[in-house]
Subunit: 91 residues, 2 copies
């Protein structure tokens, strides 16, 4: 199975944009501080990722399903921490 160079670029791109949320999850979990993070961003972003997941399942694209389910998990954990830690900061 010979993979084009450009497909390798696409795979690396998907890995980078997916993995990039890991440092934010770790940073937020460590600091428990979420003031500077936009709730609207992670809400809209998570909704968009859900649609990408529906799209990937419908067209049976394993790459789209894998990348977006991982990113959705990371984005939702940031969204959850934003909601939970926001409440704690308000009290």
């Amino acid at each position: 199975m010979q993979i084009d160079l450009i497909e390798i670029v696409g795979i690396i791109a998907a890995c980078c944009t997916t993995a990039s949320f890991v440092p934010q999850v770790m940073h937020t979990w460590k600091t428990k501080s979420v003031k500077d993070i936009s709730l609207k961003m992670y809400g809209l972003f998570s909704f968009g990722l859900c649609l990408w997941l529906v799209y990937g399942i419908r067209i049976k694209s394993l790459a789209i399903i894998l990348a977006n389910s991982i990113t959705l998990t990371l984005a939702c954990s940031i969204l959850l921490m934003k909601i939970v830690f926001n409440k704690k900061q308000d009290n």
Copy 2:
């Protein structure tokens, strides 16, 4: 030109995940506070978007080029604000 429903879902997904960075740009511009934002995330994310752009240009996909160039512009502006406002907060 008849567009499948699932292609419309894909277009809405792309619009949501791209547009979702606008509230973060506005939030960061307004507050000038970047402590909670991960530099590593936006650095790796921007690098990944650059690769997506190379991929989109190479396979001549207008959708991938459009979505990723807009997201790259937004992600880079957050990255820039993170670097600039971080310095101001240190002084």
